[in-house]
Symmetry: C3
């Protein structure tokens, strides 16, 4: 694996899950194996879990993490090729990526979509430019359309908590007040498909995911019906793909509550966090014994540690 | 000690002072005793001394410091219980505290008061929520109403510089242009009381501290009279408690100057910094041989090192 | 060397170049020689190369880097002596510098000029105040009028790439949209003079550098003529010194392109970065085999490592 852009970069997903769990359960075995290497963590957007889990993963491996907060304490970047740079962007990604490659041994990049143009966001220009121009491995800490570290973590968490080999998993849309990206649901669906789990999606009309992602899956517009008998409920808001980037307050009854959870097969509740309480899901659901949200966040560390190790070993 | 919220968490104050001075004088003895643990340093407000002294203390102990600047490079937090989170705050403290607990081994928190509601500030909600929801030790790097790391440092500095066992200490109000919190004077008074030092307070009418703090102490509205014969002058502005959060420019003659210092028993001058020169105190006083301000800032490192060590050893 | 303010602090420039190249070529020889010391890196302005190269240099030497972003996560500083501090600045440099000196073993400072008053900028107050009030070594990470780490790096890069002992070097002004400081060209010219290289300057009328810097050098207002036969072309914009801080869009044809480069003696192209592509120089020039910009950025690490080592050894 040269770079980690999305889950397709992983050849054997089951082996990856096993190795991540091995890191979790034998943390000492993987300590300090890359002493004195520098990991550059480039953030175009805010982050708590990704910042901290990647930091911890890096420290576990013996790496020195260097945070780069773009436009905050460094120069703003230009991504258009051949442009006459006479506007606000000060440095071209071509140069920045090559320069950073000289100072680091591996780079992680987070950059959210603008949610204004479906086509632009689909190009995933920022992370792909870093991959193109860097001389060192690059991994995705959430791009416009993919969040593979989260999805891999979610797989690991399902694996740890599933009583059956092929669990029934529901990805349910949930209410929100702001337009949110498709990166998390996209990558989650891709992960479920790779595992051949029994995945279905519940969302209101007009909120279907990118059809190339949801192709072949059952999309249920009746949320209560969708909850019936599932083993895992993964809640997440996303903005409309069809009516790109739009939100609606017409579906606030899509909140995940105890009544809906009661329809499931005693399902576990999952969310990637941050979660807006009593809007996306009720306090009772989030704080129930079925809730895996804290486990998910903890597992982010081991997943990051696995991916960074793999990239540095070019394995 | 499970958490360090205020000075009441310290059982034997004299033993603590001795241990802090032992750390200062035998720095090698306490080096690298917690290798590979992570300390989360959460700042809701700016800081220089606290950032640097806690960083240095952490490095001395072998800890890896991870700074979290809330609302700057992470999500803004909600503190109200049971709220429908449909406004600007993105993540609930319940979840953030539990998540951070998984990535760190100990947390320090700084959050200033808004100085708008006496009752709200008295609740000290931010630091107390971190204590409530975290699974790991939490220490106070200055909350709405307490700054115990500063007060403990000030005690150590007085101990180092006092010729007598029970020095006469004056806490004097000083001018300022902005409403300042009560955290520093509150904790300083609590420290003086714990040591049974001969502490008195000078402030203009209308600027008495919270009466539960100043109870039993002499409050002098005649500043010049208050300076007479004291061994230590601790200058600090605070906004009105009575007329909550208000400032006044009527008392700019309360500046600490050489004329006033001449009334003392050759007193040492103290301030927690940052200090506005020629407003709070004159250059001549601040730069005099009697000034302990730089010693105070240096001692912050050893105090932080002591508290962090104690918490991690649950001692 | 007690502090590193500008190139005049270096006694033997040739020996310095040799030592920097030795660090580059024998990186292991200089690893971890200052374990457990803290380096404070104080930024009043954004930075990518300086942040990362100094970080890497520090880590190579075993130092712990502590970044201080003034006015972002700490207090704003006052520099005027004797002032009544009743405006926005919260802490005086006198106190901040002494406090920081207690927490660190060495300090680097970056602060750009305001480009409003020639006299004020020439005083270089910020870096000079840190030098004056700190008790520990201070080095310049680009001040109002000098960028010696860049200039020393450029010398090293020329040395590595020059086929002759005394190369012909052209410093050419290039177009820009914003008023830029004189720090880089000032220090570059000083470096060329110290080496006794054959340096000339090309700039439009009204854009001569500070005459105390360019004294004795040929200044050519005919850019094409200036390119003839040179071995190195160093491109850089600077605002007018005469009409202080002003820019002009009348000279956009001063862009460095292949046609101009063809007049040289197969010259290498240099720029300190960030570079605005197709404004300062064309993509073709920047991406040509003659371009040394990435080498320059890489060499920043070794130069920083050399200066920090020298200062900590007081050598």
């Amino acid at each position: 694996m040269k770079n980690f852009y999305n889950l397709n970069d992983i050849k054997d997903i089951n082996q990856s899950i096993d190795e991540i769990l091995d890191i979790k359960n034998n943390i000492g075995k993987y300590q300090k194996i890359f002493d004195d290497k520098i990991i550059g963590l480039i953030f175009f957007n805010p982050s708590l879990r990704t910042r901290m889990s990647t930091y911890k993963a890096s420290k576990n491996l013996g790496l020195e993490p260097f945070f780069i907060n773009i436009s905050n304490n460094t120069w703003s970047l230009e991504f258009e090729d051949g442009k006459i740079m006479d506007s606000s962007n000060v440095e071209h990604i071509k140069d920045a990526a090559r320069v950073i490659s000289n100072y680091c041994d591996i780079i992680g990049v987070r950059s959210f979509p603008l949610l204004k143009s479906k086509e632009n966001d689909a190009e995933d220009q920022i992370i792909k430019s870093f991959i193109k121009y860097s001389n060192i491995p690059v991994f995705n800490m959430e791009s416009s359309i993919a969040h593979p570290l989260q999805a891999l973590t979610d797989l690991v968490t399902i694996k740890e908590n599933s009583k059956v080999k092929k669990p029934k998993v529901l990805l349910t849309w949930a209410p929100h007040i702001k337009p949110l990206p498709h990166a998390v649901p996209n990558s989650f669906v891709r992960a479920m498909k790779k595992m051949n789990f029994d995945i279905s999606i519940a969302n209101p009309k007009g909120f279907d995911l990118d059809p190339t992602i949801s192709k072949g899956l059952k999309i249920n517009n009746d949320q209560l019906d969708a909850f019936k008998g599932v083993d895992f409920v993964y809640a997440k808001n996303w903005s409309s793909f069809e009516n790109y980037g739009k939100v609606s307050s017409n579906y606030n009854d899509w909140i995940v509550d105890e009544k809906k959870m009661a329809k499931t097969n005693n399902a576990k509740f999952m969310h990637c966090l941050p979660i807006r309480r009593n809007l996306v899901a009720t306090d009772n659901v989030i704080d129930s014994e079925q809730s895996l949200i804290i486990d998910q966040s903890e597992n982010r560390t081991y997943t990051a540690q696995y991916i960074i190790k793999k990239l540095l070993k070019n394995g």
